[in-house]
Symmetry: C2
Subunit: 415 residues, 2 copies
Amino acid sequence: MAAGLHAPNPDDLLPVAGLRIGTAKAGIRKPGKRDLLVLQFDPGSVAAGVFTRNRFCAAPVHVCRKHLALSQGAIRALVVNTGNANAGTGESGVLHAQETCDHLASMLGLPATQVLPFSTGVILEPLPIDRLLAGLPQALEAARAGEEGWLEAAQAIMTTDTLPKASSIAVQAGNTRYHITGIAKGAGMIRPNMATMLAVLACDAPIAPELLARWLQDINALSFNRITVDGDTSTNDSFLLVSTGAKASSNGAPIDHDAHPDAAALKEAMTALAQQLAQAIVRDGEGATKFITVEVDHAASEAEAVQVAYAVAHSPLIKTAFFASDPNLGRILCAVGYAGIDDLDVQKVDLYLDAVHVATQGGRHPAYREEDGQAVMKKQDITVRVVLGRGKAQCRVWTCDFSHDYVSINADYRS
Amino acid sequence: MAAGLHAPNPDDLLPVAGLRIGTAKAGIRKPGKRDLLVLQFDPGSVAAGVFTRNRFCAAPVHVCRKHLALSQGAIRALVVNTGNANAGTGESGVLHAQETCDHLASMLGLPATQVLPFSTGVILEPLPIDRLLAGLPQALEAARAGEEGWLEAAQAIMTTDTLPKASSIAVQAGNTRYHITGIAKGAGMIRPNMATMLAVLACDAPIAPELLARWLQDINALSFNRITVDGDTSTNDSFLLVSTGAKASSNGAPIDHDAHPDAAALKEAMTALAQQLAQAIVRDGEGATKFITVEVDHAASEAEAVQVAYAVAHSPLIKTAFFASDPNLGRILCAVGYAGIDDLDVQKVDLYLDAVHVATQGGRHPAYREEDGQAVMKKQDITVRVVLGRGKAQCRVWTCDFSHDYVSINADYRS
């Protein structure tokens, strides 16, 4: 089940110059599943990454942070396995992540610090490092084939995802046509706090490392850091932005500041693409049947708006009501009330469901009719809008409903 | 379904001297259901209450706070309706709660400020005040019958509860034998922040108002403020402690300080009773099949211990794993990691499931075997113990698992 999500059409996925893709079936957890991905980047590529703030963060997250710092973002390859998160694995987990990089680096003739490792899957189980290493030659063999294969790449990183997530945008700047393509995975344990495991967004524009790192923060704040499925911040969340620089910019100069003529269009496209992928994760949220946008307006600060939006987006009572298409909308006021704003004046709060004005002045709107709320609740895509009447800040958070299938999927995850 | 909860035996429920109970079928939401409760207290009784911190708190909560302040705790009656929360009802809701008190007060010849109103049920729907007022004579008629009827009282306040919750303890102090009896309701929208809707604990000891108010805070902190079903803090949470003073103390002096010879035994008994009722709410948590104690030890502060315990107790991933009896215990480390302790050293964290040592030094314990974890997961009552290795503070929080029935119950709540 997935709320309005469709498999990407391979023809819509654009090759990114300076980048090669390879996948393999390494049998990490189960045989016959595409579970290993290697991306190679040409010399001159730069990467920026954000990672989970979970203190029990996975071993590969530690190694990624270290390698990005040591290489100053000059990354040449990344390797992703699914089926095992290599988290809660202590010292041996870090050694395994390091060994993975060492192995791939020696096959490619690179320093290990230019390779980034990623893992996703079950926590607290040792990484089957032998099977992973044995799968690398197959992935490199496939990689020689060329720039395409994004769909296979998206498939190779799935866990409980029901559909692969990949998307592309082309940006025309003068005579230069840039390609940006991204892939992502995720359906459960989704409440990214920095980024989600795992999204990679690559483009062939010549973006300078410092600018790329700054953009990463801005883009992340408006995309992966604004979604939730179940409120569980994963141990493995990672979002990587890669720029191969394989294409020259429209004026021939590197894109190293926001005033460069190509900068605005590229950043906007990257943000839109990251939002598409983030929303795809929510639409494919475990058991999701509905896609909910929670918009909080007229807040005193953005932090406060986000706090209220997540209180609504995390409430299992609200999420089950959406699943049932039941306009039991007092539950939304209840969540706004316990969101932690101590001086909230409930007389000034307004609640809308799409265009239907549900509540005002601390109670039901006089013109509200149950059948109007009911009509909206039956839709697949719904916007909840909470107006706080406190200031000018706003935010938008995306989430899904909470169904029987969420329970089934997570009760049976390891079996 | 309820995890190890049984209906109270009426013979075990002790009458509290100085208190009369009456219930009625007022047809608040559905006909034929016992949905109205009136408790009357003799002159000299004192009450102390704590209420929800939800900013959208219900109209009766506003009125309760006002009446307790104006009467300085000298309360003579309370009235509870189920079927409608009288929350999210704006100004007219407050008028309705006030009208309920006025009406009952005039029937009993009391000032309205000595009456407390309580409501529980659906939010955002107008209180059917006419049916409520019409039911009061029936409740008072029944009340004349005597001191007993606690089981009926517990039944009259149920919403999605599957079983009534009531319990008693007798305390012997010298030649005086005190009776303490409490009732509670609650199964969903349970993450009390001050207290839970609704618990009333009454005793016949002569406890001074100031001491009672202080005890209320201490008792609440160790009982209702330590439970969660779904993380949703209700609009109506209320916990009331009543002392009728109908019995003289063992030395004839009022119990007005902790050094009074009867004080320690009474406070201990009240705390134990409040914990029993709080745990009964969790055991009857919507869809609950398991009762989980989350214990956090060696924390730097109690606040930090509570923060970690609730991160574990709220995680839908952990709760669904308990439902499935699946020892997917990495999810617990994950929740500890995202609980918000920025300087947590995961190398110092230990995780136990009952007596089974699951994780140590950031990874799986070398002696841990899946079958040992599996054996514990199959039990109905399970203790998760997280040792943080940071200090001497600790806490204990109670919660339940997350099952298909939670979704069913909340998807169908209003139908």
